[in-house]
């Protein structure tokens, strides 16, 4: 059974067709990148998989269960970070984690584990309001990992981070991949992020899947990397952010 099954999902906001009939299937343990420019429909698609938005039509199954009937079970087994969440500024990191841990009925040990995993040990008593962007992203990841989710959704986890912090986050996720208990769905504009972390790459634009597959199957002589592939597919660049390319 696939970990996630998306069948012909459509979502429209008034006159915007955000997702125009997407189907995909994700196997347990896979690391999947949803790659696409601004407004492609990545967040809408991911939030439908997370049960936070309802598709207009189509079906989404996680471990064979749909959101309508199994919301309670599914909430316990997934982890996620939203594209933009601001945690309460007046709580410390440890207090934020304690709060979220209580929703899953988890204790101190697990809180300490995610703190170590995300490298926040020295910051546990810092107010969220005083954290840097990278530290906030790590906190969001720590919260997402609390319940040892079998399915993890991260919506642009590294946007706005410097290359160094981005690398730190990749290392954490790579560690998870090696353990093999987690399926990851990650959205990004960064080619390199998709290339290093993910084996399964889905390129979407304007609410549709343009190409999908393993990295090496997607590339050929004409498209030697994802950047070129994307330009060949759409005639436009994926992202204006050339930071990574410059630092290479």
């Amino acid at each position: 059974m696939s970990q996630i099954e998306v069948r012909n999902v459509v979502k429209t906001f008034k006159d915007v067709h955000a997702v125009k009939g997407i189907s995909l299937s994700i196997e347990p343990g896979e690391f999947v990148a949803l790659l696409g420019p601004n407004g492609a429909g990545k967040t809408t698609l991911v939030e439908m998989m997370e049960g936070l938005q309802k598709p207009d039509s189509g079906e989404i199954l996680i471990e064979g269960k749909n959101w309508k009937k199994h919301e309670k079970d599914l909430r316990k087994s997934i982890g996620l970070s939203l594209q933009e969440t601001r945690f309460s500024e007046k709580l410390t990191i440890i207090e934020t984690l304690q709060l979220f841990a209580s929703f899953f009925n988890l204790g101190k040990e697990r809180i300490n584990e995610v703190i170590t995993l995300t490298g926040l040990e020295s910051k546990t008593k810092a107010m969220v309001g005083t954290l840097s962007g990278g530290q906030r992203q790590r906190l969001a990841l720590a919260v997402a990992l609390l319940n040892n989710p079998r399915t993890l959704f991260l919506d642009e986890p590294t946007t706005g981070l410097d290359p160094h912090s981005r690398l730190d986050l990749w290392n954490i996720l790579d560690g998870l991949k090696k353990k093999g208990n987690t399926t990851l769905i990650l959205t990004t504009h960064y080619m390199e992020e998709a290339e290093t972390l993910c084996d399964h790459i889905i390129i979407i634009d304007e609410g549709k899947i343009l190409r999908e597959g393993r990295l090496k199957d997607l590339l050929d002589d004409k498209s030697r990397n994802l950047e070129e592939l994307f330009i060949n597919l759409t005639g436009k660049k994926l992202s204006d952010d050339d930071l990574i390319e410059q630092t290479k």
Binding site: G51, L52, M127
Partner: protein, 369 residues
């Protein structure tokens, strides 16, 4: 399962309390400000009775008033102008001072219009006449006092006013009226702003959405938020009461357990309204408008600072239906009239029912993301 729910509730309550305590302005507006208001208003309205009136005399030749003034009055100043001052003293009613100045008719009328003078005495071919606006109750009071004084000038110096006995019982002073009102008013404000704002702000920051993406019980979140505000209101009310007790010797004459129950019902009512008000919007401007729309009428009509019995007859039965009116009247009756369970039964049930109803509708319409 039960312990999970408890743990969630406890952690949510703890988080809300921590956030509130780390917001120093909250402590100022919630605690220091009401105490300052009550002290200010309390002192302003409990000063000893002392009345001072300005009388203008318009005459063509000296009259009987002048001879009385030369006998009982003394030279002095009124707002820098030379005047004749006539003071009387009454043990029960306090000191009264009349400042007399001479004037011509034209400027006397101007002074009356400006409110600089209370009354004009004019000599006419038919004798002395008092001239004032009979709709002005202050002027009427001056007329009564002055005409009595001019008729028997000597009797007023000699504390003979045995017919008046000042009422200085506990519970009839203005401050006794004011403090319970300030307490209930503070509760309404603290809950309406505290609960609604917290919800709207979290919704706009997508924190609500993040929280409902976990197995958190939605009701736990709202109950913890209401609980935190209620706890804070208990502290605020106790502090305000303590000050009022120390400074003005305010007492609770009725049943304290009944007061506690009514207090909780009032908190529940406003918390329910606050949740309903903030159930959908994620814009703080909209929230502010809605909160004001709910609070303003009650602030003006529910008799917090002045009794609503001065409003027209037909409106009073409607005013009594407002939750703040029911709450305030109930709390006042316990403070000042010695009320107990029986008297507060209906307001307590009505307020709780309103709170639960609003809570239920609010929960139903609630937009978590």
């Amino acid at each position: 399962m039960k312990s999970i729910a408890h743990k969630q509730l406890f952690q949510l309550l703890r988080a809300f309390c921590l956030e509130m305590l780390r917001e120093p302005e909250v402590l100022f507006w919630g605690i220091v400000f009401p105490v300052l208001i009550s002290i200010g208003l309390g002192l302003a309205f409990t000063q000893s009775a002392e009345a001072k009136f300005h009388i203008l005399i318009v005459e063509s030749k000296p009259t009987a008033v002048d001879s009385l003034l030369s006998l009982y009055g003394h030279e002095g100043k009124h707002k820098g102008q030379p005047a004749i001052i006539w003071e009387t003293n009454d043990k029960a009613l306090g000191k009264t001072q009349f400042d007399f100045t001479h004037s011509d008719w034209e400027s006397a009328i101007i002074s009356l219009k400006r409110g600089e003078a209370d009354l004009v005495i004019a000599d006419t071919p038919d004798g002395l006449r008092y001239r004032f606006d009979p709709h002005n109750s202050q002027a009427q009071l001056v007329y009564m006092k002055l005409s009595a004084l001019l008729q028997s000038p000597a009797s007023h110096d000699a504390d003979t006013n045995i017919a008046v006995e000042p009422l200085e019982l506990k519970g009839v002073r203005y401050i006794d009226f004011l403090i319970p009102g300030l307490i209930t008013f503070g509760i309404m404000g603290s809950i309406m702003w505290g609960v609604s704002y917290t919800i709207i702000e979290r919704r706009s920051q997508k924190l609500l959405r993040r929280m409902v993406a976990t197995p958190m019980r939605k009701s736990s979140f709202l109950i913890a938020l209401m609980g935190m505000r209620t706890l804070m209101n208990i502290v605020e009310a106790l502090i305000l009461f303590l000050f009022a007790y120390l400074i003005f010797d305010i007492r609770i004459q009725g049943n304290i357990a009944a007061l506690a129950l009514l207090f909780l019902a009032g908190n529940l009512a406003f918390a329910g309204i606050a949740i309903l008000v903030s159930s959908r919007t994620s814009k703080t401007e909209v929230g502010t408008g809605l909160i004001n729309a709910v609070q303003m009428p009650m602030m003006l009509l529910s008799g917090i600072f002045f009794s609503y019995h001065n409003f027209p007859e037909w409106s009073i039965s409607a005013i009594k239906l407002l939750p703040l009116t029911a709450f305030t009247d109930g709390v006042r009756s316990i403070f000042n009239e010695g009320a107990g369970w029986e008297e507060i039964l209906i307001p307590t049930i009505a307020l709780s029912a309103l709170g639960l109803l609003c809570f239920a509708i609010g929960m139903k319409r609630f937009k978590w993301h």
